[in-house]
Point group: C2
Chain length 335, copies 2
């Protein structure tokens, strides 16, 4: 199959870039030092490539991701790094023999784990991002409560999500240390084998966590690309030029329903300025001095945020130049 045969818009992964990212991360954080986050790609076939790179433990954000990973035989050690109030579906996954560990940060979420049939939990600790997680000084109490209710507490997690995207590396390094002091303080009270934290932006700076939950590294996006990390943009959305206006713009068939837009507009891989996106269109201008576009041309659009981009697509095509090597189902979508 050639990329010109793909129905557009189409998610396209550069095979070489993907392998570079897998290799680079596996060298920096081998085996269990990385717990790859599947929310970034939602694709069990890509998770298998992460297994081939040496990682057998995974982080998930949704119940669907846990179910899909376990069903694909990738359930050695799945962490749902998120709170749920009904763990019944997770208990069913545990009953199939997969190992599922659930983040908890309150009595209600501890009760949900126990009532749903999940036996292992991690105490989720707030280290500064205003999101989930208990206060560090409350972690010990919650661990005791979980133990008292018959749960096994494997340790702590605490995601420094407010820091992973900061452009200044020195500042990231400084701030992550403060966050991890909070997490280690919680871990002293909680105990257990796991101290889980980090993301692509702090994968090599966070030397306090025992395992890093990075996900974006494997495909990258324009936001993370500004941090000077050793990972390359491996994902684009292939689009077709459907209209060219002599007044100076072109339109391709890749719009708001094919792109995560929370980080703003995508960029064109060829550097052409993007004017705006509509539901099914992107309007852009040829760069000065370029020959311009013709209807039918294929163009590559680089999304600003990979995760919500991928969640719109059913299929991810792995390519080498114009050759489609593999087509993977984005099979972990939904909730």
């Amino acid at each position: 199959v050639n990329t010109h045969q793909l129905q557009t818009p189409a998610l396209v992964v550069d095979a070489g870039g993907l392998q570079h990212n897998l290799d680079t991360m596996a060298a920096a954080l081998p085996g269990g030092r990385l717990r790859p986050h599947v929310k970034a790609h939602k694709t069990t076939a890509l998770a298998r490539r992460q297994v081939a790179a040496g990682h057998r433990t995974f982080t998930c954000a949704t119940i669907c991701e846990v179910e899909g990973m376990a069903a694909a035989g990738l359930g050695d050690d799945l962490l749902l790094a998120n709170e749920v109030v009904d763990a019944t579906r997770l208990g069913r996954v545990v009953a199939t023999g997969a190992r599922v560990t659930l983040a908890v940060d309150s009595e209600a979420t501890i009760d949900a784990a126990r009532d749903g049939g999940v036996h292992e939990v991690l105490i989720d600790v707030n280290v500064g991002l205003p999101r989930c997680g208990c206060a560090p000084e409350d972690a010990g109490r919650l661990a005791e409560m979980a133990n008292a209710k018959g749960l096994s507490v494997r340790g702590v997690m605490g995601y420094e999500g407010h820091i992973v995207g900061l452009p200044d590396r020195e500042q990231r390094a400084h701030l992550v240390e403060g966050c991890m002091q909070l997490l280690l303080q919680a871990h002293q009270a909680v105990g257990g084998e796991l101290v889980s934290a980090g993301g692509t932006g702090t994968y090599d700076l966070n030397t306090w966590a025992g395992e890093i939950q990075a996900g974006s590294y494997v495909l990258m996006d324009t936001a993370y690309a500004q941090l000077g990390l050793p990972f390359v943009n491996a994902l684009t959305v292939l689009a077709t030029v459907i209209s060219v206006n002599p007044a100076g713009w072109a339109v391709a068939d890749c719009g708001l329903k094919a792109l995560g837009m929370d980080h703003g507009n995508p960029r064109m891989a060829d550097g052409a300025p993007v004017w705006f996106c509509s539901d099914e269109h992107i309007t852009f201008a040829p760069t000065e001095g370029s020959p311009g576009y013709r209807v039918g041309d294929r163009v590559a659009v680089v999304p600003a945020h990979v995760d919500p981009t991928i969640a719109y697509h059913q299929t991810m095509h792995v390519v080498d130049g114009d050759a489609v090597l593999e087509s993977w189902a984005v099979d972990l979508r939904g909730w």
Copy 2:
């Protein structure tokens, strides 16, 4: 089924609001005066409700939408109001007996229609939005070309998308007239029965077009809600509070992968200020003086832009209070 049994995040449509919007539009633009745009909802079951309200002609934005509508028996008169460079799949739909009309704005897209087996086209005219459509003065030439290549030209379309969202009604009214003068000028050269244009923001101001392609009216969103239109917000995303922080915020399970974000953050239906959205979370604060939230509470999130919100979801639930009346597959997703 009760809404409390729904897995969240869940798309929820208020049955009364939906019916109000259907009735209000059908009174203003009965029957063929409205060609409802299915891109807004991507749901054949909702299109059936539009048929029940008297509309039998539909507008689509993607090949998938045309295929799905025809397969659902809603193919009396489907307009793909968008250009394609390969119409093979549309030709297959035509061969099943459905009526498909395709927008064209260039020789390449005319050739695509002919080569793919689509027999009827509409000349897409640029009326000011920098997107698809030929120059008004070029429409006659393209119509002649289409005729010469054996296609039947049903008329013109020209979407005033740069105007539909302007907050000032007088200004909208003034500017839409200018756009439609361009479209009518093109129509004089093209001929044919159809002059198709308009959207929810101009549905009652655009008195020049023979039919209006409005879609958002049926569910509405926070962006269109600022225009003082007689339609109500009928769609919310139901979410579950999964974490409450004593420092003053709560977190629910409705994030970037459940919300179209190009128009900015959603709002909470109860007025609570939204802090930010992450992939699977929304962080918000209780309004002053409110009792706050508890883990497990259900909250309603009002998306800023309906169309790309719906495209993330597999199912749309029609509710009356806490009762789920029907659950509809969002069956027109993808491309």
